[in-house]
Point group: C2
């Protein structure tokens, strides 16, 4: 028996912590399930990543790029800044987003390494093991990923995508509130729904929060990214009564998710959030702030990006949404949810015709080389999500391939008793 | 009674989580205690921040700056990369640091938002509430800051700075190991000690870890930054037997702590760390990796920085160390610890002459406008820490002011029975 073998026997595999073991991103699992081979005779089209920088149709604006070069060359941002972020960067957020309806100062702002990190700090500051936070289904899965390692219970409330206007089922939501509920997470405009809540509905949401004296964590990373006639209202601007912790960042409007800059705005009311603010400030010390170079660039980015840049983006997404909708709307067994915000379109798939959403997406890749994410990744089984940030022609080709695939599959299924199900057992991941 | 007042009465201050409440950075408290007014007639000299970019003597190298510009202009790093970091960046770490004694692949590397974040992921992946991790005293306080919110017990072992060579008291360390001990954190070269462990001593440390089958988290952020005759040995390179999780980054050798790029290298042995690796990978998904622009720059930074850049740094620090040592070595009631690594010098202060270290540092600011951090910030009461990265002339002036201050204080105290203690009650923070 060799020396190495003897040594090996002396050690046992070191277990990972429960904390890391409970850190699970469901998208990973589902993306793995979709790691099937595309059709080699068709060029691959990727509409599965919520990354607007992919495809080159929505590059960052020259002002932002210039701001980065200036920040690097200034050598003012090579060193540590305050863990909560550089004052100039926090002030720039005040200058851009503070309004008479929801006034805040640089003291109420904490910078983060992306909106993900904003959400992490907000969640970790408000809840402990055994507490619960209400999260949207369908919704961005990171909320649960961030809660569960701390044994914070993520209680799912329902968003109705099929209604005339996208709505939270507030009656049901209210039944979920108990003495251990610490916050409601509201994501508007919504990933993956593409929905934008009306002013009236936001006010209804605030009434519920007010009634139960619950704070809201508002994920507004897609704020202002609305079209098809919708208007975006920052949640904090609609309430003088409910404390709101807004999580935001430059990822999805400046189209630079890789730069990893987000922020928290603590919209306190009546000094109710003074302790939570201390908690968030303390948490920011763990990793000492986001990249200082990007912080240095932020004032110029927020100040100098022309309005036309955002108009262009909204236009691209709106046009793409309408192209895809037109092509898919009459396809048998599909149900297009018309989006009004963010950069996504949800499409329902009839299970009896196409199998579940994972099966559908796998077959779409195999047959058409078009990548979409199954709704299960977002607690929306029976749907698939189309990302709307590619070039028009690309969207059109993709939608036509999806249509052709559906028509053919639909035909085959009514023609025979055969199941198009590939025999994969996906029941383990269809947990919602 | 006004409407606002009525509303206020309806809400109670929302408590922060125990998690955020237990996130405490002791440096904050002590820095606050040192927020006294400097002497207006003397120019301020700041030797308290472990930030080599302060002062302008150690700017980043042109190659690193160029790499950042190229990364921005490439537009290849505007989008999300893998949460564990871009493959090219991880491979660049392999190319630079993998050796025949401690071979690893890109799969064993996870990028982080600074070495702080590396440490956070390593700690969170190995331990849960009730487990313990052995941390150095004196040492970098972040280890405890990261453990405590999770109720991971940070058990302090002792580093003897006064011995001929800096050493861990391994006999004492062994008594602290119990069934809940999950890892030993070894920081070499050391903050704040400026100490560099000898090869022999590192081997002794590894013997203890091996005997108890404990993994080591090696914080080597100051690796290679050694002088005055010392040699740096990466811990993993000295053992084929003990699994080592190395935490590192570009902050302290490339002098860009603000860029926030760190990494973890999982030096597994016999596949003992397979679960821990999964845990670290999972944890990296919480904030989706460090700034992609810096990741994009990393290959060029690691490849193209000339050896002369590091020689220059070592030279500056060694020269500064020797200047300060020469000026302070014969000052009554001071004890200079000769450093051999990192960028710090510890100086002991005789309590009977100068009061405790916080009092000493406060008085030094008031009288000489020289800022140093009290040792209490690093669990080294009775010492103060001098950062050695300023220009030579600055270091010389600072050391002379410290000397003059001490000689005068010393004189006054022997002349009278009066205490120079300012009457501040600092007992609450002298907890070590
Ligand atoms: C709703 C929502 N919130 C937050 C994020 C994370 O943003 P960031 O990249 O700034 O961490 C995303 C990213 O897709 C998102 O969809
Ligand atoms: C010993 C030690 N480890 C880690 C760090 C953190 O490094 P970073 O700035 O890369 O997070 C420091 C910073 O001072 C340090 O002294």
């Amino acid at each position: 028996i060799s020396k190495a073998a003897t040594l090996k026997m002396e050690w046992r595999t070191v277990p990972q912590s429960a904390h890391s073991k409970n850190t699970v991103n469901p998208v990973r699992k589902i993306a793995d399930a979709c790691a099937v081979q595309p059709n080699p005779s068709k060029r691959t089209i990727r509409l599965h990543l919520g990354d607007p920088s992919v495809g080159g149709k929505l590059p960052p604006c020259p002002e932002a790029v210039q701001a980065m070069h200036e920040s690097v060359d200034s050598h003012m941002f090579d060193g540590y800044g305050p863990a909560v972020g550089a004052l100039a960067a926090r002030q720039a957020i005040v200058d851009k987003y503070s309004t008479p309806e929801a006034t805040f100062t640089a003291d109420d702002v904490v910078l983060a390494s992306g909106c993900s990190h904003s959400l992490q700090m907000a969640i970790e500051a408000v809840a402990d093991a055994g507490d619960n936070i209400l999260v949207p289904h369908p919704g961005f899965p990171l909320y649960s990923t961030l809660c569960r390692p701390h044994n914070i219970v993520d209680k799912a409330y329902k968003i109705d995508m099929l209604a005339n206007e996208v709505r939270i089922d507030l009656t049901y939501l209210e039944t979920m509130i108990d003495s251990r509920t610490r916050a409601i997470i509201i994501n508007n405009p919504g990933n993956p729904t593409g929905g934008v809540f009306t002013k009236r509905h936001l006010e209804e949401i605030l009434e519920v929060a007010y009634k139960h004296k619950l704070i809201i964590i508002a994920d507004e990373i897609y704020g202002d990214l609305v079209y098809n006639g919708a208007t975006f209202y920052p949640l904090a601007s609609l309430t003088p009564k409910v404390p709101v912790i807004t999580c935001d960042g430059i990822a999805k409007r400046w189209m630079v998710p890789g730069w990893r800059l987000g922020w928290i705005i603590i919209h306190d009311r009546f000094n109710v959030l003074s302790e939570i603010k201390k908690g968030i400030v303390a948490l920011s010390q763990k990793i000492v702030g986001p990249c200082a170079i990007v912080q240095g660039a932020l004032p110029k980015i927020l100040r100098d990006t022309p309005e036309s840049y955002f108009e262009y983006t909204r236009n691209v997404i709106e046009t793409n949404a309408n192209i895809v909708e037109n092509i898919l709307q009459d396809v048998p067994g599909l149900q297009v949810i018309k989006p009004q915000g963010a950069m996504y379109m949800m499409v329902g798939v009839e299970k009896s015709s196409y199998g579940d959403d994972v099966t559908f997406c796998q077959n779409l890749i195999k047959s058409e080389s078009v990548f979409c994410l199954p709704g299960q990744a977002f607690s929306a089984p029976g749907f698939f999500r189309v990302v709307l940030t590619s070039a028009e022609e690309e969207m059109e080709i993709a939608a036509m391939r999806i249509r052709d695939f559906c028509i053919q599959t639909y035909q085959n299924r009514t023609d025979s008793e055969d199941s198009s199900d590939e025999g994969l057992d996906l029941s383990t991941i269809e947990s919602d």
